[in-house]
């Protein structure tokens, strides 16, 4: 689900852009560690593969078909950080050239699909990809990757004030589950077909972690996802809880100087201060990213 521009409220898209930029920068640097510039064609071509894979339809039943989303498959073959970079590149092309997903909403889409989607897809494989649970891990990875992205996108829309009747929410969650299960099935069948013709392209995971550790990790991811949805459907409740425990006041003082003005401008001011707050937000995002990139580059060369 690619969120277009205009769907997210300003605090939501601005925050997610701020969060996505350093996350993406970090993943790019990790990918660069494993792949120097001479491997860029591989990442680009695999991105083109994921794009083209959408043209190959998988029968689902009742006359409908589905297709590969690809985050988990890329993570199993290229590794998680390069897979994230490829997904970022795909999202950028989709937003710019195919009008699929917004530009200001790119931060949201990158976090949902390229960062958390890919990492959630890789987690089961990382934990159990080497042992007797391998097949299940591959399947569950595909399921997780799509489910995580979809739930995050839904949560962001709800946080932005898009109201959804309970029925619609239920239906969309059910649809997400179906497409997530489909992604798991497609990922597993493609991995098996790949292992038959060229086994060395799938990453090796030697030995698994203990079942318990893995289970705890997986449950944490699921709870996190579900928690976000509940949090966003009932933000007032969360706020009240935070106020009761005293977190809210501490957080407010902590973030007081720039953010309280930002917040106030949004609530009371006319549109001009609000717009300038938005632009200031973007400038802030930009400066933060630039500084982080510089620092990262300096640390690297040192």
């Amino acid at each position: 689900m690619h969120i277009p521009d205009g769907f997210l409220s300003t605090p939501v898209w601005a925050t997610l852009d701020v969060a996505a930029a350093p996350a993406a920068a970090l993943l790019v640097r990790r990918a660069q560690r494993d792949f120097d510039e001479s491997k860029i064609p591989l990442l680009g071509v695999m991105g083109a593969f994921v794009f083209a894979a959408q043209m190959i339809n998988f029968p689902v039943g009742i006359g409908t078909t589905g297709h590969l989303v690809g985050g988990a498959l890329l993570a199993y073959t290229l590794g998680p950080a390069p897979a994230s970079v490829v997904m970022c590149a795909i999202l950028a092309i989709q937003a710019l050239v195919f009008q699929d997903g917004g530009v200001l909403a790119l931060g949201a889409n990158v976090l949902n699909m390229a960062v958390f989607g890919v990492l959630a897809g890789y987690l089961p494989f990382y934990l159990w990809g080497g042992g007797k649970w391998r097949r299940s891990a591959i399947f569950v990875g595909g399921v997780f990757s799509v489910l995580t992205s979809a739930i995050l996108a839904l949560a962001e829309l709800l946080l932005s004030g898009v109201k959804m009747p309970a029925m619609v929410l239920g239906i969309s969650l059910a649809l997400f589950l179906v497409s997530a299960l489909l992604e798991g099935a497609i990922t597993l069948t493609v991995v098996q077909a790949l292992e038959a013709i060229q086994p060395n392209v799938i990453q090796r995971r030697t030995g698994g972690l203990p079942l318990l550790t893995g289970a705890v990790g997986a449950v944490a991811v699921l709870l996190g996802g579900v928690g976000v949805v509940f949090a966003s459907t009932a933000p007032d409740g969360i706020w009240k809880l935070a106020a009761q425990t005293g977190i809210a006041s501490r957080a407010t003082t902590l973030l007081s100087t720039p953010l309280s003005n930002y917040h106030a401008a949004f609530l009371q001011g006319g549109w001009l201060p609000r717009a300038s707050a938005g632009i200031a937000g973007i400038a802030l995002v930009y400066v933060v990213c630039l500084v982080m990139a510089r620092m990262a580059a300096r640390r690297r060369s040192a």
Binding site: P4, D5, G6, F7, W13, V28, Q32, E37, S38, I40, P41, L42, L43, G44, V45, M46, G47, A48, F49, F51, A52, A53, M55, I56, F58, P59, G61, L68, V85, A89, A92, I93, L96, V97, F98, Q99, D100, G102, V103, L104, V162, K163, M164, P165, V168, I186, T189, V190, Q192, A193, L194, I197, Q198, V201, W271, L272, A275, I279, I282, A293
Partner: protein, 242 residues
Amino acid sequence: MHHVVLERWSRGTSALHRRDPRAKLTALVVFLVVVATAQHMLPQLTAALFLLLAATLLYARLPLWGALARTALVLPFSLVFLLVCWMAGDPARGLALVAKSYLSALAVLIVVSTTPLHALLRGMEMAGIPRFLLMVVQFLYRYLFVISEEAQHMTNAAAARGATFRGAVARGARFHAAAGALAVLFVRSYGRAAGIHSAMLARGFLGRFQPLHEDHFGWSDALFLSLASLAPVLVRIAVERV
């Protein structure tokens, strides 16, 4: 195909085509923020900003109706949400989503169809986005055509062999056939990447892509940037004050 048309448009020679990609990107972000943060007088503002974009399309000598129709790619998604908002008793918000997403997508489309993608990526690089990522985007776009064509050949071949059986068993078989096709496409793409890598080495690649172009941010770019950034802001002030 959509991207082929946009690429053809992007090779035009209008004054807008000639502007520095950084100027266009900055103006785009300003426009998107003006749209995203708008809350009052939305119908009037939508109409005014729409006229502004339509004028820009004419200025760039792009086909007006063609561009408007291509931007409609965002509508299916927005219309679903219009329906959802309407069911939730908030049709005004639904209409706002449709209007904002359409205006934003149209603005992006104008920038992309007046700037070749590689020039746009160069502009982004100078704005500090990691080069590694942008190079991946560039290679993705370069081989998108090639790999899509291969995928098309494979689906044609599958259709020619009559992959249209019905029933649950046949569906399972088709599922596996599709997975097999994807695996083959994957291996071919992997092989192509290896071929590209060999060609790069044979042609003396030493580990870093060297740029051929240098963009010059001139006076006309600065003038364009200030006008194009001010225009949506002034439009909004005018609409909301009147």
